[in-house]
C-alpha cells in the first residue's frame, strides 16, 4: 500500500533514565480509520518496544487509554490521526503523576472513588426471600446519565482545580456519588454528605465546565458537582433545624 505518514510526538518519561519527561517523535503510516491508539500500537510493535501505555477494549468503554492528544484529554481509541495536521502531540493525562511514558499513577483517583461509597446502601434492609428492590424506568432515568461513567479520568485531566489542589474529590468521584444519591433504592445520601461539605468537597469547583466538555460518555460531571453545592449550602444552614445528628455528619 502507498502509505501516508504522520508525525506523532510522544512525551516520554522513563524514571530510570529521564530526570524530566522528554519529547520523542515517531513517523507513523495512517489511513482514514487510524486511531491514535492504533498508531501507538504500531510504534510499540514496529518502531520502539519500550513505549508504555495502557489500553484494552479499543471501543471507548474500558476507560484505559485516556491521554492528552493535541493538548486535550481524550481516549486514544476515540481520537483519529485524520483530524490532525501533519503532527500530533500525545502526553500522559494532565494532573496525574506520570508513572512511565503515557501511564499515570491512578492511586489517588481510585482512592477518591472508594471514598464516596459507590454502592447501594439500602434504604431499608430486606432479606433475599422478600424479593428484589424494585425501580421504575422513570426512577432509573434520574441517575442513568451518571451511571455511564467509565472512570477514564479525562475529567480530572480537564479540571484545573484538581491540578491545583490534588486533595479535591474531583468531578468523576462526585458524579459517581451523585449516581448513588439519586438512586431510589439508596439511602446513603446522609453518609456521603460529609464529603460533599468538606474542604476537599464541591466548593473547590469554580464551574470551569471543561470536565463535561471532554467526557466521552456525556456524564456531565460539572452538573453533579454544582447541584451538590446547593445541597451542601442547604445542609450548612438547615443542619441546626434537624431533630437529631445524622450518622456520618462531620464536626
Amino acid at each position: 500500500m502507498t502509505e501516508k505518514m504522520k508525525t506523532i510526538a510522544v512525551l516520554r518519561y522513563r524514571p530510570e533514565q529521564d530526570d524530566t519527561p522528554v519529547w520523542q517523535e515517531y513517523a507513523v503510516p495512517y489511513g482514514d480509520d487510524t486511531s491514535v491508539l492504533a498508531a501507538l500500537n504500531y510504534i510499540k510493535d514496529e518502531l520502539d518496544g519500550t513505549l508504555s501505555f495502557r489500553w484494552s477494549c479499543r471501543q471507548a468503554i474500558c476507560g484505559s487509554c485516556g491521554m492528552m492528544i493535541g493538548g486535550k484529554p481524550q481516549l486514544a481509541c476515540k481520537a483519529f490521526l485524520r483530524d490532525y495536521p501533519e503532527r500530533v502531540t500525545v502526553e500522559a493525562l494532565a494532573h496525574f503523576p506520570i508513572e512511565r511514558d503515557l501511564v499515570v499513577v491512578m492511586d489517588g483517583f481510585i482512592d477518591k472513588l472508594e471514598k464516596v461509597k459507590p454502592y447501594l446502601i439500602p434504604r431499608e434492609k430486606r432479606s433475599p426471600d422478600e424479593g428484589e428492590y424494585l425501580q421504575t424506568p422513570e426512577e432509573m432515568d434520574l441517575y442513568a446519565q451518571f451511571a455511564g461513567c467509565i472512570n477514564c479520568g479525562l475529567c480530572y485531566a480537564a479540571c484545573p482545580q484538581v491540578g491545583l489542589n490534588p486533595d479535591f474529590l474531583g468531578p468523576g468521584a462526585i458524579a459517581l456519588l451523585q449516581r448513588y444519591n439519586l438512586d431510589s433504592r439508596d439511602g446513603g445520601t446522609d453518609e456521603r454528605m460529609a464529603l460533599i461539605n468538606a474542604e476537599l468537597g464541591v466548593f473547590n469547583c469554580t464551574a470551569v465546565g471543561f470536565c463535561s466538555e471532554v467526557c466521552p460518555k456525556m456524564v456531565d460531571p460539572a452538573n453533579a458537582v454544582n447541584v451538590n453545592k446547593m445541597n451542601s449550602a442547604r445542609d450548612y444552614f438547615f443542619r441546626f433545624l434537624r431533630p437529631s445528628p445524622k450518622q456520618g455528619g462531620c464536626r
Binding site: 503523576p97 506520570i98 484545573p160 464551574a207 470551569v208 471543561f210 460539572a222 447541584v227
Partner: protein, 136 residues
C-alpha cells in the same frame, strides 16, 4: 529496589493551555469590573451623603471623558459577565424537567439570556419613566 519515581508536572501557566481555559479566565476577570462598578456606586452614595458640591463632583466624573471610557469598559464587561453567566448555567443549575422530559441545556441558556434582555429593558425603561415622568 523500586525504580518508581512518579513525575508531577507543574501547573504554571495552565490557563494558557487551552482556549477553553482562556475564555474561563476572561469571564472570571469580569469580577474586577463588577467590583469597580460597586465602588463607583459606593462613591456616588458617599458624595450624595456629603452634599451638593460633592455630588456635582461625582456627576462631573461620570460625564468626563475618562469617566465615559472607564464606564464603557465596565458596561462591556458586565454584558460579557451576563452572557457567560447564562451560557454556563446548564452546568450549574439542577436538571429542569418539564412534563417528565429533561430541558435541553441550550434552552436553559436561551431562557437565561432572554430574562437578561427583559430585565435590562425593564430597568432602563423604569428609570427613564421615573426621570421623564418626574419632570411632568
Amino acid at each position: 529496589m523500586s525504580k518508581r519515581r512518579p513525575y508531577v508536572r507543574p501547573m504554571d501557566g495552565w490557563f494558557k493551555r487551552d482556549p477553553f481555559f482562556i475564555e474561563y479566565m476572561a469571564h472570571e476577570g469580569t469580577a474586577v469590573f463588577v467590583w469597580l462598578f460597586a465602588l463607583e456606586m459606593l462613591a456616588g452614595l458617599w458624595a450624595l451623603a456629603a452634599g451638593e458640591a460633592a455630588w456635582a463632583g461625582f456627576a462631573a466624573w461620570l460625564a468626563s471623558l475618562p469617566g465615559l471610557v472607564v464606564n464603557a469598559l465596565i458596561l462591556a464587561m458586565l454584558l460579557y459577565h451576563g452572557v457567560s453567566w447564562f451560557l454556563i448555567m446548564p452546568r450549574t443549575l439542577p436538571p429542569v424537567r418539564v412534563g417528565g422530559r429533561r430541558v435541553a441545556g441550550s434552552t436553559i441558556s436561551a431562557v437565561g439570556l432572554a430574562s437578561m434582555l427583559v430585565a435590562s429593558v425593564a430597568v432602563v425603561g423604569f428609570f427613564c419613566l421615573l426621570a421623564n415622568g418626574g419632570q411632568g
